[in-house]
Symmetry: C2
Subunit: 342 residues, 2 copies
DNA sequence: TTGTAGGCGTTATCAG
DNA sequence: CTGATAACGCCTACAA
């Protein structure tokens, strides 16, 4: 079915030189004359030569492929992180393998196995929401595959780069903003506390409350997988409490969108009767009526950084002199109509 | 940096048999005794053997990798098509390489080159919006890599599978629905006519109009890249016409969302003063207020079919007996508040 | 049923 | 600066 490919031998024969010279010329080796390099490149182009990465990978033990594992590609945050990663990777001649865990730990484990078998050169991951064991990542590291975490990171493995935002501060900014607007009973729809970032967001929320002398009430807090179904259900729960919360800080934007939808369905005016703030923008956040106030994350930048750190680690001779300090980026509060009282 | 891997030789040595026997045992070759197979598998597991796909790919000329090229992964339609493809692929032992063209022809061309070089076994693609030349896909086919198109397909290349929905009928259903609701001046925000599916959607729109004796007015039609910016800008243009259109049929859902946002910003009541129907659902379509009437596509099903057809073609000895009939799936009109007059 | 030997396309090593 | 030769890890005639 597949066609025969031209190999370096074909080039060598044509020029009556050895295949090693061709190989070296193609790889821009230092001690090959410019003349032969030029000749080799010309003939390579003429013949339509394309290097067989399988063969070179076999001997160099490199695949020039890195992989990304994210919960789902159709969330704005992950999609733009991927875009950032792709940019850095392709600039450096790497191909990117995108995988979705669909927020399932089991699937994440399987994916890692596949990646190890496929000899990827490195892995960039944001954890599934129910991942609490990390042996699969340790296995990858033991197989010599560097791992970089971003967003939902794993602190249990020390010798990896981690790219995060200041989740604590973001949540604090969001809550403080609601308090400043005069909201008094601010509820929180958070992510499962297994993930560190959602613990941080909860902590930031608490700090925001306490700064305005608002009591922290565990009854006003819910934890979930942060999808739209959860968002709708938990908003309903919260809004049936008596007295009713007058604002909700959501740990992501899908739940914020669901909360908004629920409120409008039930004639609860946003923001007058219910202030809403989300975390992490979706494409539509600014298009909704009212538009949703959100904490914006530098998602593409995070992706770029993660890729840079990963390539750095791949190129390193040993991991001894790596500085695995966690890298923390800043978030930004984007105030929109869903939280703004006159 | 990377650790040494255990090879079939290690297994062979341990069992004092030859490496070929090990290879055959691992591949479940017919003429190997059950006893040795079991022994080999046991030792393989003990030693933590993982087959090197690079090496076997080098000789079998297969990578067990297929690739998807879509305009963008963060659109619901593409994300769920990808999910469908992933399911079928992983069931059959294939790894999936997801690539984004970002709706740029040039990038699509480069991606194909990368994929050819990386020896993927097959490609599933939905075209970038400005793709009008197809030599890059012919190049892939000439390199022996089967290509399957879905959604935005290429009719210029005959010998490929194509998975589409009945775009004409979907657009017709949408327009008819608006006409039935009593809308008289129905505008259309369409995709660039370079893509066949957008020509079909325009044609379906025309049929819907003519069936209700509504005149087709070129002035009520706009063509664009169907992103949110375009949607906002063109909605503005359309709504400044005198007399104003009283409904818009959008060729995708991002533009429908933008149109809704624009209308609400300008106190134009939806659906009373402006009916809106979109094509292809986004996650939020049903959560918006009013929720957006849409044409639903069987996106995951399309992905599965595309993957099945691709694997079929990969496994085929020759392409002579392939039946490249275009496969057309049905769409469904989901009526919601954005178009429903009492 | 199993072993031997050769080769897939590239790169590394060691000579020259 | 260039060439011969041996790897890389696996698969597959062919032979036994």
């Amino acid at each position: 079915m597949k066609k025969k490919k031209v190999s370096i031998y074909d080039i060598a024969n044509r020029l009556e030189i050895s295949s090693s010279t061709v190989s070296r010329a193609l790889n821009d080796h230092a001690r090959i004359s410019e003349k032969t390099k030029l000749a080799v490149r010309r003939v390579a182009k003429e013949l339509g030569f394309e290097k067989n990465h399988l063969a070179s990978g076999l001997i160099t033990n490199k695949s020039f492929t890195i992989s990304i594992i994210v919960p789902a590609v159709n969330r704005n945050f992950f999609a733009s992180a991927i875009t950032g990663i792709e940019k850095v990777a392709s600039e450096n001649g790497y191909t990117v393998l995108i995988c979705q865990s669909h927020d399932q730990y089991e699937r994440e484990v399987k994916l890692i196995d596949t990646l190890i078998i496929n000899r990827v050169d490195g892995i960039i991951a944001s954890l599934a929401i129910n991942t609490e064991e990390f042996d699969h990542f340790r296995k990858a590291k033991n197989a010599g595959i560097p791992v970089v975490f971003f967003d939902r990171v794993c602190h249990e493995i020390e010798d990896t780069f981690k790219i995060v935002v200041n989740d604590f501060n973001g949540a604090y900014l969001a809550t403080r903003h609601l308090a400043e607007q005069g909201f008094k009973r601010i509820a929180h729809i958070g992510g499962y506390q297994s993930q560190n970032i959602f613990r941080e967001r909860l902590a930031g929320y608490k700090k925001g409350l306490s700064e305005f002398n608002l009591p922290f009430d565990e009854g006003l807090v819910r934890y979930c997988a942060l999808n739209t179904d959860d968002g709708t259900k938990l908003t309903e729960e919260l809004l049936q409490l008596k007295p009713r919360p007058d604002a909700i800080f959501c740990a992501n934007n899908l739940t914020a969108i669901s909360a908004l939808a629920y409120a409008m369905d039930h004639n609860i005016k946003v923001p007058e009767a219910l202030g809403i703030v989300g975390f992490s923008e979706e494409t539509v956040s600014s298009l909704l009526k009212p538009a949703i106030t959100s904490i914006r994350q530098p998602s593409e930048q995070m992706g770029k950084l993660a890729a840079q750190k990963l390539l750095e680690e791949i190129d390193a001779e040993s991991s001894d002199n790596m500085d695995y300090t966690e890298i923390e980026l800043r978030t930004e509060l984007i105030v929109r109509a869903s939280s703004k009282l006159e």
